[in-house]
């Protein structure tokens, strides 16, 4: 039985910088898997390669039995592999509602779009209050809600989240992770990229540790939390 998303022996380059070196990872349906690593480890590069923004030089990315490397980024979104980008990247001059509509760009059925909109507003009532506001004037926490909601508008089958906790106050980080748990409970499959290993290993069932473009460790979240090296390097314990 094949995993829902299966990345095998992927090598990605920026010019002649070898950013991903033989990365393999897989995610089963309904799982939360985390990918942790320090700055510059290649976490965003991994997600961009899955999303088709970067082409791997070698390797395959199978999603439900199809090779994603043959598709363009917008086609990959239409298949249900959707990314919440690092740093949120909301469209600052578009309103909250317009941002959410852009998230649903791959969907043409208006009824589905308005159903998704209701769902996102139910998940983030704050966004509903501010739906006519221009996204550039939202607070950091609200922008993260918007970035997450925007991705949910596309009916993701796998959600790729790139450092959702980045730059947020601890309370807001808790909020975002509550949302992640809730999405998981609703059956969404999530690949969670984090530098905040502590919190990522709390929500995920399994994890990969990435260092300088190489997968160093691959284990259950519990084992990773116990791992000596992880505790020293990523959990800040001695």
């Amino acid at each position: 039985m094949m995993a829902m998303l299966e990345i095998q022996h992927v090598h990605t380059y920026y010019g002649n910088i070898h950013a991903l070196k033989d990365i393999s990872l897989n995610i089963d349906k309904g799982e939360i898997v985390t990918l942790i690593g320090a700055n510059g480890a290649g976490k965003s590069t991994t997600l961009k390669t899955i999303s088709g923004l970067l082409r791997p030089r070698h390797g395959t990315i199978q999603f439900e039995g199809e090779d994603l490397t043959r598709y363009l980024p917008h086609e990959i979104v239409a298949k249900g592999v959707v990314q919440v980008p690092e740093g949120r990247r909301v469209f600052g001059r578009l309103t909250v509602t317009e941002n959410l509509e852009m998230g649903a760009f791959a969907i043409t059925d208006r009824q589905v779009i308005s159903k998704n909109l209701e769902r996102v507003f139910a998940l983030f009532p704050r966004l509903k209050e501010r739906r006519h506001q221009v996204a550039g004037t939202l607070s950091g926490g609200e922008q993260q809600m918007l970035a997450t909601g925007r991705a949910l508008m596309a009916n993701p089958r796998v959600l790729l989240m790139d450092e959702p906790s980045m730059g947020l106050a601890p309370v807001l980080v808790d909020n975002i992770f509550d949302t992640i748990r809730q999405l998981h409970a609703d059956g969404t499959t999530i690949l969670l990229v984090e530098q905040n290993a502590r919190i990522a290993l709390q929500v995920a069932s399994r994890g990969y540790v990435l260092q300088s473009g190489v997968i160093l460790l691959n284990d259950t979240a519990e084992n990773l939390r116990m791992n000596e090296m992880v505790r020293k390097a990523y959990l800040g314990e001695s």
Binding site: S51, L53, A78, P85, G136
Partner: protein, 356 residues
């Protein structure tokens, strides 16, 4: 107090002072000239009314062309210098349709159908040229340094000029006059040339349609999203290349329509006709803040008005003999002034995107 002054002094460079002196001098000249003109009373309200109407007609044409510059700048961050040829290609091609209609008398028997066909031919031609331009000349250079597509645009501009010269000849062609738009309409004591009214109304409708397309439709919103952040747009499932193509097509449609209005107003077409209005519309887009859509519209109308009212108002009172000859000089002085004092355009800075 003293400290504050010193800090201020450190921040002001000699260049700043020279710039402000130049700015102040120009402002003083404008005020002096305007006062003198009004005091001399050489122009009455009818004259001013005519200037304003002409300025609005001219300006709304600039506004339509400026949309193309600003939209393309938005999605590609480049100035499409070949846009003036996109503008020329439409009315020049439609000229042959117009001339055929004129010869067969169809033009005066069915003026509205004729105009509709002329507009459609021009808009489709300009949009097609814009589409091909992006596909063939700009898309392969998407990843190149920014100077390269800019130089390519200038090359494409010459290329298109000479292609159309080769196809259609190098002479001026007189655009046929539609009879029902000859003469004037009277509103009380004021009179408007009919074709000026036609230009203003048609341009206003087109601008409104364009604006609501960009603001309200799914594609329009996606174009704005691509203008802000291409990579995030890809992540949303937006087909960025298609949106860029669409942007060129929309700019082309607007330019083609503007071209017909221009040809109806000045009653001729020529392979080089795009150059001056193109550069004026570029000025208008810069005035409004390049990339800013309402800005381009307002910038165009503002420039048209300044060009039309300005020479008489500012220069006549200064004793300049043929002020109207200086209208282009006024337009380009505006461009230089804006670039020096407000590079973000008269509408001011675009909404700052908070990177929280």
């Amino acid at each position: 107090m003293l400290k504050k002054w010193r800090r201020l002094k450190e921040r002001i460079t000699p260049t700043d002072i020279v710039m402000w002196v130049i700015g102040g001098a120009i402002l003083a000249l404008i005020i002096w000239g305007s006062t003198a003109t009004i005091a001399a009373g050489r122009y009455n309200s009818h004259h001013w009314f005519d200037f304003v109407i002409f300025g609005l007609a001219q300006g709304s044409i600039y506004a339509l062309i400026a949309m193309g510059y600003t939209l393309v700048y938005g999605v590609l961050r480049m100035i499409n210098f070949a846009h003036s040829e996109v503008f020329m290609s439409g009315p020049y091609t439609a000229y042959f349709v117009a001339a055929a209609f004129y010869r067969s008398d169809f033009l005066d028997q069915h003026p509205f159908i004729s105009l509709l066909v002329i507009f459609l031919v021009a808009m489709i031609t300009s949009a097609g040229i814009a589409f091909l331009l992006e596909r063939i000349a700009y898309r392969p250079l998407r990843a190149a340094p920014r100077l390269i597509p800019l130089i390519t645009a200038i090359g494409a501009s010459f290329f298109l000029q000479y292609v159309f010269r080769g196809l259609y000849g190098s002479g001026f062609q007189a655009y046929p006059v539609v009879k029902i738009f000859e003469g004037e309409w009277a509103f009380g004591e004021f009179r408007i040339l009919r074709f000026h009214a036609l230009v203003i109304v048609a341009a206003a409708l087109l601008l409104a349609a364009l604006y609501s397309f960009i603001q309200r439709t799914r594609i329009g919103k996606a174009i704005r999203a691509v203008s802000e952040d291409k990579e995030a747009s890809y992540m949303m499932g937006i087909d960025v290349d298609k949106m860029i193509s669409t942007t060129f097509v929309i700019g082309g449609l607007a330019a083609g329509a503007a071209g017909v209005l221009y040809a109806l107003m000045f009653k001729q077409v020529h392979f080089f006709m795009g150059f001056i209005p193109g550069i004026k519309a570029f000025t208008a887009a810069v005035l409004g803040g390049i990339g800013n859509i309402p800005g381009a519209m307002l910038g165009g109308i503002f420039l048209g008005l300044i060009e039309s009212v300005g020479p008489s108002l500012f220069l006549d009172g200064l004793g300049i003999i043929a002020p109207y000859q200086l209208k282009d000089a006024i337009a380009f002085t505006m461009l230089v002034l804006v670039l020096i004092f407000r590079p973000t355009g008269i509408l001011g800075e675009r909404l700052a995107v908070k990177k929280a």
